[in-house]
């Protein structure tokens, strides 16, 4: 039998799921005593090149409260053409299309290897992808120029039928109409005034004027596109126009007096972008991409005043309750984020500035809608340029690695309930029989909306075992969970991905060893970390740390082997051995520690932590340190100063940053130019190796990490 490690890995590869426990304690009481909750990391759209989608629609359980999807775990009566739902045990007729079904002629969804399967829904007109650029013009000329170039470049990466729109803002907000010949036209809004969605739509002329003239039916569908198309145009139509328009973008022309920040109406600009899409393409995949070079300084959502002498809020100010705009701004952006999420759109923020830009207040926009958050020093850096370019990277089919407007539904067998999810999602507030009363993360629902996701987007999903102690589960019984993800594929198809997993129940009393062995400490660490970070958003830092510590202690208490009063006797089994170390690093990570980080940085780090998959998350928690030497292949070393040796090269990857550190001797050799001498080619190779490795990481990661090169004198 394969080891649990292999099992875990296989499961992850096939289903994109990693559970903290792979054998489940069979009662509520025992489950709670396990300290680490039963939970999983789910990567809903994990790339599966080997999984071609099926071109029909799923078969649903007919019980209205269940509606689970036919899956390999279902009992099928081929003769009667019946199947029994494995969640509610309802017996269902196969639909007529399945008339030819038999043991040898099974549909894909019944085959065990298709525990994850993807359906393509044929109904409904495909809706185009929409990209709405929201561009700050209060930038330095260099920055603006670089940004303009990036944007122009991005146009070439978009599919020709994608709709694009452009909103620019500074002191005013301009919504550009893209289909004008001979004159460029834009709608201008004052940056200080909060407008309701209705007002915005009225002002943009998106609302149909009550048409008393001709109530002709046929006219309506025709006009619909024409209205919206004023601001959102298929790229192939207005490619040139938009390129010129971007080229002509000028810095915000309003004078900025000495000692003032430029007036930047980010809040209103976003609000208008949201309102625009809301009015024209609700529930259609769309990205609002906000490019900003500084903090919002006026209007709703302002983060700091325009007086330069008053600096933007710091953690210190926040603790002292001195951040006068924070609460209001946060509220504004939350409101926007929720509206955006409700419409199935997502908001990206690309913030490039040396100082903070208000990510703390705006974080909810990407966080709740599944948008990206990118932070850099300048638009004129490769970090931004490449990161931005990577957004438009394509998969093996030539489709964007992005999906829109997803809903994730979780169904559980009766012994389980779902307690919540943590990730770039919002609750859809669907109360079902499988919703737990206890909430972990975003709970109280069995469905979440993820407006923007990519193949690596990963959610932590937390469960609760509700089976009572006195209602034992029959030996060999399995608990099942079905994840159903509806989403709009980047090819504009609607798709449904269904993953059905099952794990064995085990009685803690008798089978603790089993359960222990099936512990996935990596997944558990990440899942606990997500809980901790989630709490940190609302609770005081020290409280979170104390909570983490207590959990660790309880876990060790439960699973550690030790003799009282004898610290040296403490032992943890292999499956737990790394867990404390993860917790140690987590405690001092920027996700929980704010010292030396600005509020924006904290927000940035936490944003990424909450959406990356397990591997990346682990790197974030515990950076990787490799040591390169002539003595052999690179080896991981301790995150300790003792790892710094004169004849080694160190490569550290913290996810956000990659550092290459040359040992003293190495540095001297390099300075002496040995690498250029043919006889020291091996030294050249040694120097090159970490660079190559770093490059490899850089290529694969989003967002692009910062690469630093340290070389002691």
């Amino acid at each position: 039998m394969a080891t649990y490690l292999e099992f875990i890995q296989q499961n992850e590869e096939r289903d994109g799921v990693r559970f903290s426990w792979n054998v489940w304690p069979s009662s509520r009481l025992e489950a709670t005593r396990m300290v680490v909750p039963l939970a999983c990391l789910l990567t809903p759209l994990k790339e599966r090149p080997d999984l071609p989608p099926v071109q029909y629609e799923p078969v649903l359980c007919s019980r209205p409260t269940c509606k689970a999807i036919l899956n390999p775990l279902c009992q099928v009566d081929y003769r009667a053409k019946l199947w029994a739902c494995n969640f509610c045990f309802q017996r269902n007729q196969f639909p007529p299309a399945y008339a030819g079904i038999s043991e040898v002629n099974q549909p894909a969804e019944l085959m065990p290897q298709f525990s994850t399967i993807e359906y393509v829904i044929q109904r409904g007109a495909p809706s185009p992808l929409i990209f709405l650029y929201v561009v700050d013009t209060c930038l330095e000329d260099d920055d603006l120029q670089a940004l303009k170039e990036s944007l122009q470049m991005s146009l070439s990466l978009l599919p020709p039928d994608a709709l694009v729109g452009l909103i620019t803002f500074g002191r005013m907000v301009q919504v550009h109409e893209l289909s004008c010949e001979g004159i460029s036209k834009s709608y201008v809004f004052r940056g200080t005034k909060d407008l309701t969605a209705k007002q915005i739509q009225d002002m943009l002329g998106l609302t149909k004027p009550a048409m008393p003239v001709q109530p002709m039916r046929p006219a309506q569908p025709q006009e619909r596109p024409s209205v919206s198309s004023r601001f959102l145009q298929p790229i192939h139509k207005i490619d040139m126009n938009l390129t010129d328009l971007l080229g002509e973008l000028q810095r915000d022309p309003w004078p900025v007096p000495q000692g003032k920040r430029p007036l930047r109406s980010t809040g209103v600009a976003l609000s208008i972008a949201v309102g625009l899409l809301e009015g024209t393409f609700p529930n259609t995949g769309a990205r609002i991409m906000l490019f900003t070079g500084g903090p919002p300084t006026q209007g709703p959502g302002m983060v700091v005043g325009d007086e330069l002498k008053v600096p933007i809020r710091s953690w210190h100010d926040i603790e002292k309750d001195n951040a006068r705009f924070m609460k209001k701004a946060t509220k504004h952006y939350e409101m926007l984020a929720n509206r955006t999420a409700a419409n199935g759109h997502c908001i990206d923020i690309y913030a490039c500035a040396l100082d903070q830009t208000g990510l703390l207040e705006m974080k909810c926009c990407p966080n709740l809608t599944g948008g990206y958050m990118v932070m850099g020093d300048s638009f004129n850096t490769s970090l931004f340029k490449q990161t931005f370019q990577r957004i438009f990277s394509k998969d093996f089919n030539g489709n964007f690695r992005m999906a829109f407007g997803a809903t994730l539904e979780v169904k559980t067998s009766r012994e389980l309930k779902v307690a919540g999810a943590i990730g770039p999602c919002v609750s859809l507030n669907v109360k079902g029989p499988c919703v737990s009363e206890n909430e972990l993360g975003v709970g109280g629902t069995s469905q979440w909306k993820i407006c923007g996701l990519d193949p690596t987007t990963t959610l932590g999903i937390y469960f609760e075992v509700v089976n009572q102690h006195n209602a034992p589960i029959p030996q060999g019984g399995r608990g099942a969970i079905q994840f159903v993800t509806h989403y709009q594929h980047s090819s504009t198809q609607r798709r449904i991905r269904v993953t059905t997993v099952a794990r064995n129940w085990a009685d803690v009393q008798s089978q603790l060893k089993h359960i222990e062995a099936a512990f996935d400490q990596e997944a558990a660490a990440v899942l606990m970390a997500r809980l901790g970070v989630f709490r940190a958003e609302t609770e005081e830092g020290p409280d979170v740390l104390r909570w983490l510590d207590r959990q660790l202690i309880r876990l060790c208490q439960k699973f550690g082997q030790y003799n009282k009063e004898d610290p040296m006797s403490f032992r943890l089994s292999d499956s737990f051995s790394l867990y404390p170390q993860f917790m140690f690093h987590l405690r001092r990570s920027p996700f929980l520690q704010v010292f030396n980080n600005s509020p924006d940085e904290s927000s940035y780090y936490r944003h990424h932590f909450a959406r990356q998959d397990l591997t990346q998350s682990l790197i974030m928690i515990q950076p990787i340190l490799y040591s390169y030497s002539f003595h052999g292949p690179p080896e991981p070393v301790l995150l300790d100063s003792s790892s710094i040796l004169a004849d080694r090269i160190l490569l550290m990857d913290t996810f956000f940053q990659i550092v290459i550190y040359l040992g003293e001797t190495i540095a001297q050799w390099r300075k002496a130019g040995y690498q250029d001498m043919p006889e020291y080619e091996n030294f050249k190779h040694l120097l090159q190796a970490p660079l190559d490795d770093a490059q490899e990481i850089l290529q694969a990661r989003f967002p692009m990490p910062r690469l630093d090169f340290f070389c002691p004198k």
Partner: protein, 1094 residues
Amino acid sequence: MNVNQSAPPVPPFGQPQPVYPGYHQSSYGGQPGSTAAPTPYGAYNGPVPGYQQTPPPGVSRAPASSGAPPASTAQGPCGQTAYGQFGQGDVQNGPSSGVQMQRLPGSQPFASAPLAPVVSQPAVLQPYGPPPTSAQVTAQLAGMQISGAVAPAPPASGLGYGSPTSLASASGSFPNSGLYGSYPQGQAPPLGQGHPGAQPPQRSVPPQASSFTPPASGGPRMPSMTGPLLPGQSFGGPPVSQPNHVSSPPPQALPPGTQMTGPPGPPPPMHSSQQPGYQLQQNGSFGPARGPQSNYGSPYPGAATFGSQPGPPQPLPPKRLDPDAIPSPIQVIEDDRNNRGSEPFVTGVRGQVPPLVTTNFLVKDQGNASPRYIRCTSYNIPCTSDMAKQAQVPLAAVIKPLARLPPEEASPYVVDHGESGPLRCNRCKAYMCPFMQFVEGGRRFQCCFCSCINDVPPQYFQHLDHTGKRVDAYDRPELSLGSYEFLATVDYCKNNKFPIPPAFIFMIDVSYNAVRSGLVRLLCEELKSLLDFLPREGGAEESAIRVGFVTYNKVLHFYNVKSSLAQPQMMVVSDVGDMFVPLLDGFLVNVSESRAVITSLLDQIPEMFADTRETETVFAPVVQAGMEALKAAECAGKLFLFHTSLPIAEAPGKLKNRDDRKLINTDKEKTLFQPQSGAYQTLAKECVAQGCCVDLFLFPNQYVDVATLSVVPQLTGGSVYKYACFQVENDQERFLSDLRRDVQKVVGFDAVMRVRTSTGIRAVDFFGAFYMSNTTDVELAGLDGDKTVTVEFKHDDRLNEENGALLQCALLYTSCAGQRRLRIHNLALNCCTQLADLYRNCETDTLINYMAKFAYRGVLSSPVKTVRDTLITQCAQILACYRKNCASPSSAGQLILPECMKLLPVYLNCVLKSEVLQPGAEVTTDDRAYVRQLVTSMDVAETNVFFYPRLLPLTKSPIENTTEPPAVRASEERLSNGDIYLLENGLNLFLWVGASVQQGVVQSLFGVSSFSQITSGLSVLPVLDNLLSKKVRGLIDSLRAQRSRYMKLIVVKQEDKLEMLFKHFLVEDKSLSGGASYVDFLCHMHKEIRQLLS
């Protein structure tokens, strides 16, 4: 005279003469000259006698009259001459005719030495002599009518002769007419007119008019008088009564009251026609005489026949005054032209009354501001407020600070006093002017306004000559001229910064209506070339004014036309509830730099909105946007708004249709003139603060609420133009012409005007297009050469005759090149302790200007009826005061008008009948509001022609005669169906074609062969190569050139339905809306006066 007196008649007269002799002789004496006439008179005389006989029996008249009337007309001319002779020779005839004659001469003399001529006329004249100005109109109803008939002469005689004559005369006249048959052609009643040919010259005499009055009155009245019996009284009075008075017919005693006698004396009409001054005797209306009058009336039927010529007379015979007997505006204008048009008006002397606005004259500035800048209601101010109250003559000045001058007159010199700024009195802040007294050898000066003694700054010091004048007085405009400018220093600028050159913003409605009517395309096309003609300063090569463009319907579109752009950028602002300007850089640009982009924009605009279906518009946000744009650019400027419809879109300043004709003549009528919401006032206030002037061009198809929309232009010194139902084909020329003129005209921006006065009076009230935030400073966001401010003064202390009263109007403004300047106008007035002096130095045109503005403002707060009554009452009080205090004693039945104010009733009647105060059924609420605000900033010349339109006969004078034909009075009676007339009032221009105009004329003017083929409502005359066509078109062009707005021509055919419209402008007639005819109103006025006097 003798000659004429066709032997036969003479004798009779002769007899009567005896009586007259005294009078006439003297008066006539002067006149004898006119010989030609004689013959005609002869004729009269003939009949007359007969009448005379009749006289005794009232009845007899009838027959006589019938005969006579016609003659009268014809006789008119002749008569005059004849009369003149008569006068000399025979009292009777003489008088009447003589009177006329005399008047003519007299009038001239008046001009120079007013009464001189008058004097000629015996007793009557003499009285006049002093008051030369006053014209007497004897109001004898009967007389009036009669007067229409040639009668005048006869009556006079009659009078002279005695009671009998009067009647006779009347009748006599008729007969004459008959005799004269030929004359009649001229149309008897109009005699004056009929005579035209002859008259003209006589008219030239007009000045005498005043003098005339007496005679005329005398003539006619006499008879009437006699009839009435009152004679004795009247006589007593009449004779005395100066020409100005109109004696009420009945009372007047024949003998004395040459004037009085008038009543019956149909003759007056003639006179009157020529010269207003006359007394109309309407026994009926005024006089106690009524009884008799009526009688006359009946008997006169004959008169009616006379009237026949005019037509109307017949129906009203009994009560009608002969229109020719009452003061004629035309005559007054002609007289003034002839007398004062040739000499330059030199402003050196204090308190001079300038020539009328209708007279072409040159002005030489010798220390007082030209009347082109300032005109006063009176140039002689009562010394005390009691006097002023008594007289009720409003003391007002009509100031047009930036008036354009004819090329022959130099515009004000610019004086630079250097860094210290213009020299001013330390206490009252008056500016250095010619009236300042330098004392102590020139080291100090005493302020002429507040008497404060100020030091002369060293750099300004100059020695005085032996008369106490500075040696350099004539080198310095501010010491020798009435008008000049100072360069302002930075202290006079907003925020202590020199202004940035102003900007023009064109804001174009692009809603469905605007696009469909072709307005948008037309306008954009025009702007392309018009932008080359923005006003520029002096010799500047190109205008410093920057331009910006906005279009709008329910939302606003701003345009970035920065020169560096490849194509214009449009920025839409939909947030009309909270307007703001979306761009700074590139909105206001220099035309030449951004020409390519602007042209591209103007090409694009019509295209972009060609398919618009947006019908709703906003208004207040548009103004706000323009204002904010100027604010952002930190400059003053002007908005040109082209707007089509009631702003009903959801936005501030949204209006609802509240047009409700039912409100007319109710207490709520005033709400039609009031703005709907206060928002516009607030907005206007902000505009003024920014120096943002708004010119509004309206193109409504229906009600747009001009009353509300015009608030902003009104308060910011802008103009409103209205083109109802605009169609490019029909209205293009008018609109473009107005637009060109409006864009090109020189404007002063961000102006503040203050009027300072010497101690004793002060400016208390202001009328015009401006805003006032306190009680003294008139704030004008913009001020152009057409805008006029009327200022009313009140006493706050005694004045003294020696010092007179001084006005100094200082206007601080930014020129169109962005230079800050002060324009100063000074005017010295006399002060008087005698009311007569006041009445002798009044200007009726100015008075009407003031009263119209006062009334038009009044309708905002009071029911229209109240306003009208107030006007009438005030007018009656003015005249009654004169009658009581200045006129020589005469019968109460006599209407006596001051010479200077003899046109007051007719003009006032025009004001009362104007569409604002008495709307006809076809006048819309918008029209009324429009006119109301137009009048508010009109100058004297404009109000003059606006209220009393000019009616020019085109085919009366020989074609070769290229001078402007003499106008005729605005009455249907004056139209002959064989002629073509041109009527203009500054806003409208009609070409009236009589039904029986010669075919040749039709052909050469319209290019069609007959009257019936002329298109009614035609607005352009075909360009034909013949003398008549050229002449008429030339005349139309020159008329248009005189007016600040393009007058669209409307061709009206007699008996066509359009004629109704035209008739509205015949202001001497009864109007359809119930306005009184001149004659009726005069009667009414007389009644009012009598009531006041009793």
